[in-house]
């Protein structure tokens, strides 16, 4: 390992993970700086979780360099893990214990004294708005509440770095927004967050900087804004056609936009002025079922980088 890791809290160079002949993570480079919230955006199977697991010392590095809080996961897993908080993709709470017991029991694993654990549990239950459910069995909680309890549990050791693996997958919109709000508060307090997600809105909301992963590699890196500026136009015109209209289209959209992306259900025209482009569509007498002008998003970045949509 190289000596100077600069100010990066996590630093990866040519980081690689292979399972037999399958390469899950293929020589990726990235730096996570203290206090930032860093995202891994990509479809399922892109290598996000494998990368996460290596950072969390749950999976050995196959090749390349990785340092976490200036330590080596291969030899200092115990020390690193003492300073991490991990929110896994699937909840793994202890269903035989109450909400509060889950936190206090977990504190034992970090060797946190009982009195400290109790007062932290109080604070954390309030932070994730579960103080009224403290004495309830975990099994009686809703999906969103379980997720919040998992987050509270990950904070019990006051971690320097918190890892969220798909924090809101499977939650309803209301539960998602509540969770985002809590994550945002953590960020405000100066915590360093690593978030994996296949939801572009989540990445845009929460991440200061992110990498787009696809097929085990990093396709692009930057802030959400930078990525959109670099890989997309300002606006997108979304057109939907009926089957007959689509058949008669035959190249008539050419020259209307900087880039045209044909998806199964809609056609995207990348342009800096969506309304103007829509006018031109009408001038050409192209029959459209519906049209929508919107700002470009990370979804468009992903589409432009890979030619595929993020969530199929």
């Amino acid at each position: 390992m190289s000596g100077a890791t600069g100010d990066a809290l996590v630093r990866a160079r040519k980081l690689t993970k292979r399972f037999g002949s399958f390469t899950a993570v293929d020589a990726v480079d990235f730096d996570v700086r203290p206090g930032e919230s860093f995202g891994f955006l990509g479809p399922n199977g892109a290598g996000k979780t494998s990368t996460m697991r290596m950072i969390a010392c749950a999976s050995p590095v196959t090749d390349g360099e990785l340092s976490v809080i200036d330590m080596n996961p291969q030899t200092q897993a115990r020390e690193i893990k003492a300073r991490l908080g991990v929110v896994p993709q699937t909840d793994n709470l202890d269903t035989e214990l109450t909400v509060r017991e889950n936190l206090e029991m977990y504190a034992r694993y970090f060797d946190i004294p009982g009195s400290v654990a109790r007062s932290r549990a109080d604070e954390l239950l309030e932070f994730v708005q579960l103080d009224e459910r403290a004495k309830d069995q975990v099994e009686t909680l809703s999906g969103g509440m379980k997720r919040r309890l998992t987050i509270a549990r990950a904070l019990i050791n006051e971690p320097d770095l918190i890892i969220f693996d798909e924090p809101t997958t499977g939650l309803d919109p209301q539960a998602r927004h509540l969770l985002w709000d809590r994550l945002y508060r953590l960020k405000q307090r100066g915590a360093t967050l690593i978030i994996t997600t296949h939801y572009m809105d989540e990445a845009e909301q929460l991440c200061d900087r992110l990498v787009v992963m696809d097929k085990a590699r990093i396709a692009a890196e930057g802030s959400p804004r930078e990525l959109i500026d670099r890989y997309s136009t300002k606006e997108v015109l979304e057109l939907r056609f009926g089957d007959a209209e689509r058949a008669g289209l035959d190249g008539r959209l050419e020259g209307l936009a900087q880039r045209v992306e044909v998806l199964p259900d809609r056609t995207l025209l990348y342009t800096d002025d969506g309304e103007k482009t829509l006018d031109e569509v009408h001038q050409r007498n192209i029959a459209v079922q519906s049209a929508l002008v919107r700002r470009a998003s990370l979804e468009d970045v992903f589409l432009s980088l890979t030619g595929r949509s993020l969530v199929e």
């Binding site: 896994p88 269903t95 694993y109 050791n157």
Partner: protein
């Protein structure tokens, strides 16, 4: 699939009830019948004296087997508790030692109650019998370690029913638990010598009845120690391979 924690008094009560019923039914019931036809077949302690320590050994195996199969698989796969624990400073080895510590504690608690029942039936009458408690722990932990290694290598729970049917049940019946192996053909006796429960039962019987054979006892003990040691290495490797991949 999760194990529901029993209140301690209830599990202690069952720990008492089970051996009490077995010893009454088989020890006194069947034993009484046997005594009518051949009063000296089982020596001065009678059939119940033979059966009691045999059941004690079988109990150690069964308790350990139960505790080390579905509950372990649950914590690996279904409840994913180990994944949560591994996000803390603890390692797979810590998990293994913790599980074995708990199972060992449980074995010795249940074993102590069992011994009390044996004393009640006047089977265990010598202080030497107390030495069978660590043997219960050692025998049980031997099975535990092998089963944890097995559980860590399974993708579903189908394998357990095969182990129960083709390993645990035959051992339960043919380890000198219910009848002396001398009744069986030579081949069965030789096979039994290579199986773990037989050695546990022999040691426990000698200690409980107070007539330990000092010529064979070290070999029984050595077998159990090696059985546990190998299981420990296998369990350690299997858990690490499964959970830290």
């Amino acid at each position: 699939m999760s194990r529901t924690a029993q209140p301690p008094h209830r599990s202690l009560f069952f720990g008492f009830l089970q051996p009490f019923m077995f010893l009454t039914a088989m020890g006194l019931g069947i034993g009484g019948l046997l005594a009518r036809t051949n009063p000296n077949a089982f020596g001065p302690a009678g059939y119940i004296g033979f059966l009691g320590p045999g059941l004690l050994g079988a109990m150690a195996m069964q308790t350990a087997t139960f505790e080390s199969s579905y509950p372990i698989m649950n914590k690996i796969m279904w409840g994913r508790n180990y994944e949560a624990i591994l996000s803390t400073p603890l390692s797979t080895r810590n998990i293994l030692l913790g599980e074995l510590g708990w199972i060992g504690f449980r074995l010795m608690t249940v074993g102590t109650i069992f011994l009390a029942v044996l004393a009640l039936f006047r089977v265990a009458q010598t202080p030497l019998a107390l030495l069978s408690i660590p043997v219960i722990g050692l025998t049980g932990l031997g099975f535990s370690s092998w089963l944890i290694a097995f559980a860590a290598r399974q993708r579903n729970d189908v394998g357990f029913s095969w182990v129960f049917r083709f390993v645990i049940n035959p051992l339960f019946l043919f380890s000198g638990t219910f009848f002396p192996l001398a009744q069986m053909p030579q081949a069965v006796q030789v096979i039994a010598w290579f199986t773990p429960l037989f050695h546990g039962v022999e040691l426990m019987r000698g200690l409980v009845l107070g007539h330990l054979d000092l010529a064979t006892a070290p070999w029984h003990l050595a077998y159990l120690l090696v059985f546990f040691a190998v299981g420990l290495v296998l369990a350690d490797r299997s858990l690490a391979k499964r959970l830290a991949n």
